[in-house]
């Protein structure tokens, strides 16, 4: 017996008890934590359900199929009062995505312009951009939204005394009214031509880039692309004898009829979000550009690059590495800040679904959970896209 155990000990000299194995221990602790969390979540859900039943508060997701019964003043999809809460959710979600998507695009453009302007050798331009950033980013966003809504758009005249611009555009306190394009028969060809032109331009740009890398010969991509994108649809228009008309708005009764209308709630929210976020993006851009060593610019100049090309080919690609991660933060902030829409009655997801629908149904837990999940998904998707882009613009190290 003694010999056997001594033999066993000798053949496995470093064997420790399984519960002392760090890997096993680590896994066990993590498993225990996971079980505890799941148990907590389960108990929470069970308890909430029991209490809701005890208090006779309706629970479950059945309400999504019930008729909502209230109106919404801006919807990207057809919506009427007889539609369901599920539809209200979609309407709110699309309104949130609309204002966030447009906001991100415009804030990026404005932010880049201001950020670059702040570094301009032109004294006045740089000071103006600096003043803009300091003024806008130091005022609360809610205040700015209310400013645009009440102090700017709210003071426009009523529709009967609307301010008319360029004949077809009307500024009123009911919104900005624009002539709307009306697609007639055959307009499908025009759209097809436009799509074709865009695809062709992308392919052309790719080819031109490859050729540049291979042979060093340049191709006027921008001019060729512009010619394609304008030329092809124009030819289609002529060929199909102008099927796209313009519908002009006209005053009838209380409001304008026809044309397109941007409701003031949307305009105020979009303008406030864009100007506010652009101030932060401008700083991000400025930091990114300043992070590129001056030697890079000097080297480019020594090689004979012109100023624009230096910026476009040398400085910005390197700056992007620094810019993209904080830029992602700003995009996420803009999306989340769009929920301030509730202050001015813009029907975004938070106002319409987590606000009105919650109040009419009283199902706080379900609606808050859905709303949280949606904002979380939007944010995670934005991060994912930006991380992918970040990986692409990263400095490739050898």
């Amino acid at each position: 017996m003694r010999r056997q155990s001594a033999e066993a000990g000798a053949s496995r000299p470093h064997r420790v008890a399984f519960y002392n194995n760090p890997t096993v221990r680590g896994a066990a602790y993590q498993l225990a934590l996971l079980v505890a969390l799941l148990w907590f979540g389960y108990e929470f859900a069970l308890n909430a359900k029991a209490n809701l039943e005890a208090q006779r508060i309706t629970s479950g997701f059945g309400f999504l199929g019930n008729t909502a019964g209230f109106g919404v003043n801006q919807s990207l999809i057809p919506y009427s009062e007889t539609d369901t809460y599920g539809r209200v959710f979609l309407v709110g979600l699309l309104n949130t995505l609309l204002v966030s998507g447009l906001g991100i695009a415009l804030a990026t453009i404005l932010g880049f312009l201001i950020g670059i302007a702040r570094l301009s050798p032109n004294w006045l331009l740089a000071r103006l951009a600096g003043g803009y950033v300091e003024l806008i980013r130091n005022l609360p966003l809610l205040f700015q939204i209310l400013f645009w809504y009440l102090a700017v758009l709210g003071t426009l005249p009523n529709p009967r005394q609307a301010v008319s611009l360029f004949g077809g555009v009307f500024l009123t306190n009911r919104g900005i009214i624009l002539p709307a394009p009306v697609a007639g028969e055959g307009s499908i060809y025009v759209f097809a031509a436009l799509m074709l032109a865009i695809i062709a331009t992308c392919a052309l740009a790719r080819w031109a880039r490859r050729r540049l890398e291979r042979t060093g010969r340049q191709f006027p991509t921008f001019r060729a692309g512009a010619a394609l994108i304008i030329g092809l649809p124009l030819m289609a228009l002529i060929a199909t004898s102008f099927p796209i008309g313009i519908e002009r708005p006209e005053l009838r009764g209380f409001n304008f009829v026809g044309g397109m209308r941007l409701v003031p709630e949307f305009v105020a929210l979009l303008v406030a979000l864009v100007t506010y976020t652009a101030a932060f993006i401008a700083e991000v851009v400025r930091a990114g550009i300043l992070a590129v060593p001056r030697g890079q610019t000097e080297a480019a100049q020594a090689l004979g690059f012109r100023r624009g090309k230096t910026l476009r080919l040398i400085v910005v690609p390197q700056a992007l590495r620094v810019i993209v991660p904080p830029l992602t933060n700003q995009y996420l902030n803009l999306t989340k800040n769009s929920s301030l829409a509730v202050a001015i009655g813009y029907p975004d997801l938070f106002a319409v679904f987590a606000g009105t629908a919650l109040n009419q149904t009283g199902q706080a837990i379900e609606i808050i959970v859905i709303t949280m999940a949606v904002y979380l998904s939007i944010s995670l998707l934005t991060s994912l896209a930006m991380n992918w882009y970040n990986a692409r613009v990263r400095l490739s190290e050898r």
Partner: protein, 338 residues
């Protein structure tokens, strides 16, 4: 933000403490030594703080009457101003003991929100206010109009129903608070402002040029407004309900702030039961024998409260209408105290 916190509160309250559902609000209130009453964020006639911070109004009087009945002191009330959107969450999450915030009693609110309506202290209906300059004489001429309203109200639903039923188009702009709504209407964002008629009268007072606005004759809905308590707390429900009935009974029997001392000497059995010189009806509720005396002395009967706050004795000058006692052609009717 406050709403978000209160919602989180609801979630936690519902999730974490299992037996809290049937908690004794009455005991909580007496232990605390004061009543917390959810009211509007400022609606003349119903609940509005004056320049010294004292709350007045029909709903405020109702809360004071409860405090008077319990503590013999109408000042032992803390008022918690709530938006239409936050009010039910506040009640459910126990931030307040009773919700007296011109709230419409509907079947779905009664059955699925975890609350009970104790009584109707104002029979109201929904109407429209427009600018006189629009030259609109009827709500049926509002086709195509932009209408401002407050979100999370029955108003929002009635509005949709009314325009749909009459085949009219409209644009609704829904704001979170009454002030934002009125501001938008005043700023010309909307052609019409819609809410309960009583509220239209009081908001009209707040407008800069109140004579430029007119309230249209149509009343498009039934809006019985009343105080609500949490579901499943019967004792507290009874107290709140009977405070309202006590005020109605007092008016019906001619017992007012002026006549209360005579009433105490009265030999009429009905009055004796009311003021507690006969029977122990107050004690059955968990209050004292003289509970009605306390209410009437400190606050007055229903008619006095009505006149002082919304009726002919107030700036609003709304006629009693449906809110007259049943003996005078109205529908305010209280079961007897016996």
């Amino acid at each position: 933000m406050k709403r978000a916190i209160s919602m989180l509160g609801v979630a936690l309250a519902l999730g974490a403490w299992a037996d809290a559902a049937s908690a004794q609000t009455f005991k909580t209130v007496t232990d605390r030594g004061s009543l917390i009453c959810g009211v509007s964020q400022g609606l003349p006639g119903f609940s509005l703080p004056d320049d010294k911070g004292n709350w007045t109004g029909l709903d405020v009087d109702f809360c004071r009457a409860i405090a008077a009945a319990i503590f013999n002191d109408p000042g032992k009330v803390k008022f918690s101003p709530l938006s239409a959107k936050d009010r039910f969450e506040a009640l459910r999450s126990r931030e307040i003991d009773v919700l007296a915030r011109n709230t419409t009693w509907t079947s779905s609110r009664d059955t699925s929100l975890g609350l009970n309506f104790a009584a109707v202290n104002y029979y109201d209906g929904q109407g429209f206010m427009v600018r006189k300059a629009l030259k609109v004489n009827s709500a049926l001429e509002l086709n195509g109009a932009s209408v401002c309203t407050q979100t999370g109200t029955t108003t929002e639903l009635n509005l949709a129903d009314y325009f749909r039923a009459n085949n009219m188009k409209y644009e609704v702009i829904a704001f979170a608070t009454a002030d934002e709504t009125v501001k938008a209407y005043e700023g010309g964002r909307c052609d019409a402002f819609t809410t309960d008629v009583s509220q239209l009268y009081s908001e009209k007072l707040k407008l800069a040029n109140s004579n430029d606005h007119v309230i249209l004759p149509e009343v498009i809905s039934k809006e019985p407004l009343g105080p609500a308590v949490r579901h499943g707390d019967d004792q507290w429900f009874d107290v709140v309900k009977w405070v309202h009935y006590a005020m109605l009974n007092a008016e019906e029997l001619g017992v007012s702030q002026k006549t209360i001392d005579e009433a105490l000497k009265s030999s009429l059995p009905e009055i004796k039961r009311l003021v507690g010189t006969e029977g122990n009806y107050g004690e059955q509720l968990g209050l004292t024998k003289d509970w009605v005396v306390r209410i009437v002395k400190h606050v007055g009967n229903y008619g006095e409260s009505f006149d002082r706050n919304v009726g002919t004795g107030s700036k609003l000058g709304i006629s009693r209408g449906l809110n007259r006692l049943w003996t005078k052609g109205g529908i305010q009717y209280a079961p007897p105290i016996r």
